[in-house]
Symmetry: C2
Amino acid sequence: MPRRVDHGERRAEIAKALVRAAGRLGLHAVGMRDVAAEAGVSLRLVQYYFESKEKLLLFGLQQLAVRFGERVSARIAAAGPDPGPREVIEALLTAALPVDAESRTFHHLYTSYAVLSVTDEALAAQPFIKDPDAAEATVTALLRRAADAGLLFPGTDPAAAAAGLLAMSAGLGTGVLVGQRSAESAAAVLAYHLDRVFRPAAGP
Amino acid sequence: MPRRVDHGERRAEIAKALVRAAGRLGLHAVGMRDVAAEAGVSLRLVQYYFESKEKLLLFGLQQLAVRFGERVSARIAAAGPDPGPREVIEALLTAALPVDAESRTFHHLYTSYAVLSVTDEALAAQPFIKDPDAAEATVTALLRRAADAGLLFPGTDPAAAAAGLLAMSAGLGTGVLVGQRSAESAAAVLAYHLDRVFRPAAGP
DNA sequence: ATTTTCGTGATACGAACGTACCACGTAGAT
DNA sequence: ATCTACGTGGTACGTTCGTATCACGAAAAT
C-alpha cells in the first residue's frame, strides 16, 4: 500500500530503531539489517530513506543529541518552578548520569560516537562535539551570576569550576556505565563537589 | 629460518602492533590483517601466536594496562625525590591526559575498550575495569594521610574528593581527545581543583 | 639417520556486510 | 484512461573479515 508517506517521520522512526539496536548490540556491531529488523521494515527501506550507512549514523547522532537536550530541559523543569542556580546546575550535571535504560543508552552511544570521531573526520566535523562547549558556557554563566549574587564561596573561578564539574559528570557517567560505581554514589560525589562551590543557604 | 622463538616476546610485539594500528585506525576498524601488516609478519603468524581475534584483543588490553601503569609510575618518579602528596596526586591525574601521541593512544584505546565492555561480557569480566578502583583507593589513601597531616582544607572528604578528581581527570582527557579543549587547559582545570583541596603551603 | 615437532607461508572458505539492481503495485497527474 | 513517479520487496554482487587447511623447511629428539 504505497500511499504518500512523511519522509521526516519515517527517518526519525528508523533512527530511533538504530539507537535501540545500537544500545543493545553496541554501535560498532549494528548493521543495516539490524536496524531494519528493529524498525520492523525491510532492508531496502532503510536504504531508501538513508542512502548510505554513514548518513544513517550521522542522522542517528543528531537525533540522539536532540533527544538528550530535551531530557536535560525536562530535568531542569522538574527541578521545580523558578529553581536556583544550584538546582539548575545539579539537574544539568546529573542528566548525564546513566540512571535508567534511556540515559544509559545516551551515555553509551554518545561515548561511542566520541570514540569514533577520533578516527572519523566526518563525525569529528559534526557539531555534536560542540554540545559540551555549550553546556560549559551555560554552567559558567550560571556560576558567574551566582558568584555575583554572593551564593558561592569566595575565590571561586566560574570557568574552571564549570569545566571541572562537567568533566567530572562525564567521567562519573562512564564509571557508572561500565559498572565501576553506582548511580547513587556518582550523584553523591557530584553533590559533594557542588557543596564545595555553593555556600550553605542562609537561614530565613 | 624456523629457529626456536620466544613466544612471550613475539606475542608482546604483535600486541604492540595491534595498539599502534588501533591508535591509527580505531579499535573498531582494525583487523587481523592490519595487525599482521603493522607487525611486519604474515597473517598466519598472528593466528599462530593468538588463536583468535578475541584473545588478541584481550592480550592487547592487558598489555595496554601494564604500559599505562608504567607510565604513571614514571610520571610520579619524575615528580622528584620524596614528592609530597599533592605532587603525587597531580602526577597521577595528569598521566591520564592525552598530551602526546602515546598518551593519546592510551586514552583512545582505553575508552574504546570501555565502550566495548558495555556489550561484551568477556571484556567486562576483564580486570582492567578494576584499575580505576585501585587508582581511587590510592588517591583516597593519599588524601587521608594529607588530611591527617593538616595539608588539606578542613572538612574535606578524602573519598569523595578522590572519586571526583579521578572522574574529572578522565572526563577532561576525553575532552582533550576529541579536540574540545587543549591539554594545557585541562591541566589548569585540574590544578585549580587541587588548589581547592590542598591548603597553600606554609612559608618557611 | 630417521622421525617428530615447530615456525612459517600461501591460499581457500563460509559468513556477513554495505550496496546495487530489478520488478511491481498503487496513488496522483494529464 | 493513460502515464508517471513513489514506496516497497526480493535478491544478487563484490568485498572484507575471521578462521581453517594444506604444504614445507629446519631444528630437535630418538
